[in-house]
C-alpha cells in the first residue's frame, strides 16, 4: 500500500485517549502525529539557518549582543522567522513532552500536574515570545547609543 491510496490512513493505530466524560477524542493522537511530521522538517530548516547565522557567520557567539538582535528583529523577515520558529518549536516540543509524560507518569495526579505545568509553560513562553517580537523597539529612548544598532543614529 502506498501513501497515495485512498484507504491509507497515516499514523500508528494508537488507542484514542479518553477525556473525563469517558468519550474519546476521535483522531486526536493522529493529528498530534501529523503535526510532528509536518512541523519537524520546517523546524529543521528554520533552526539550522538560525544557528548558522548566529554561530557561524561573523564573530559567531561573540557577536551576539543587543545591537545584533535589534538589527535582526528590525527586519520583518526575521520577525516572521522567529515567530514561526517560536510557535512551531514550542508546540512540537510541548507535544513531545506530553507524549513522554503519558509514557512515564502513570500516577493520575502526577500525570495531571505535569500536563498542567507543561500547558502553562508552553502557552506562557509563546505569549511572552510573541509579545517581545511584536512590541520590540530596536532604538529604545534614553538608552546608551553605543549599545544600539548603528541605524538608530540616523533616526535620532
Amino acid at each position: 500500500m502506498t501513501a497515495s491510496s485512498p484507504e491509507f490512513v497515516p499514523g500508528p493505530k494508537i488507542k484514542e485517549p479518553r477525556i473525563r466524560s469517558g468519550r474519546v477524542r476521535p483522531g486526536a493522537e493522529q493529528w498530534s502525529w501529523r503535526f510532528m511530521r509536518i512541523s519537524g522538517p520546517i523546524l529543521v530548516i528554520l533552526i539550522l539557518t538560525h544557528l548558522f547565522i548566529n554561530l557561524m557567520t561573523g564573530d559567531g557567539v561573540n557577536q551576539i549582543d543587543f545591537a545584533f538582535v535589534a538589527g535582526k528583529l528590525a527586519s520583518p523577515l526575521w520577525q516572521v522567522w522567529d515567530l514561526t520558529m517560536l510557535v512551531l518549536a514550542m508546540l512540537h516540543g510541548g507535544n513531545g513532552m506530553r507524549l513522554l509524560i503519558n509514557d512515564y507518569a502513570h500516577t493520575p495526579w502526577l500525570n495531571k500536574l505535569l500536563h498542567g505545568a507543561l500547558g502553562v509553560a508552553v502557552i506562557g513562553i509563546i505569549v511572552l515570545g510573541s509579545l517581545v517580537i511584536f512590541t520590540f523597539d530596536p532604538c529604545p529612548a534614553g538608552a546608551d547609543p553605543s549599545l544600539l544598532p548603528s541605524f538608530c543614529k540616523d533616526l535620532a
Partner: protein, 111 residues
C-alpha cells in the same frame, strides 16, 4: 532502540533549553544592558561547551527525525533503515566537524 533513546534525550534537552532561551531573549525588551549582561554568560568557556552540546543535540534530533519520517513513508527507507542510522551519524559528524573548530575558536581563541 538506541536511536529512540537518543531522540527522547535530545528532545527533552532541547525543550528545556528553549524555555531558557526565550526567557533570556525576552530581556531585549527590558534594556540593552540587561540583555548584554545575561547573554555575556553564553560566551564563557563553560557555556561555550554547553552550546556545542546543544548544537549536537539539535543536529541529532533533526536528522534522526527526518530518518523516522523517511522510514514511515517509504518501504525503501524501511528496508535500508540500518544504513540510514549510519547516514544520520555521518551527516552529524560532518556538520559537527564544520561547526566545532569555528565555535571553539570563537569561545576560547577570542577570535
Amino acid at each position: 532502540m538506541w536511536m529512540w533513546v537518543v531522540h527522547r534525550v535530545t528532545g527533552v534537552a532541547i525543550f528545556f533549553f528553549l524555555l531558557v532561551h526565550v526567557l533570556d531573549t525576552a530581556l531585549v525588551r527590558v534594556s540593552p544592558e540587561a540583555y548584554n549582561e545575561v547573554i555575556g554568560s553564553y560566551k564563557t568557556p563553560i557555556y561555550g561547551l554547553v552550546e556545542a552540546g546543544l548544537v549536537a543535540a539539535i543536529l541529532l534530533h533533526a536528522f534522526n527525525g527526518l530518518r523516522i519520517i523517511a522510514v514511515d513513508r517509504s518501504t525503501w527507507a524501511l528496508r535500508h533503515q540500518k544504513q540510514l542510522v549510519w547516514a544520520v551519524w555521518i551527516v552529524f559528524a560532518v556538520l559537527m566537524a564544520g561547526f566545532l573548530p569555528r565555535h571553539l575558536m570563537h569561545v576560547f581563541g577570542g577570535a
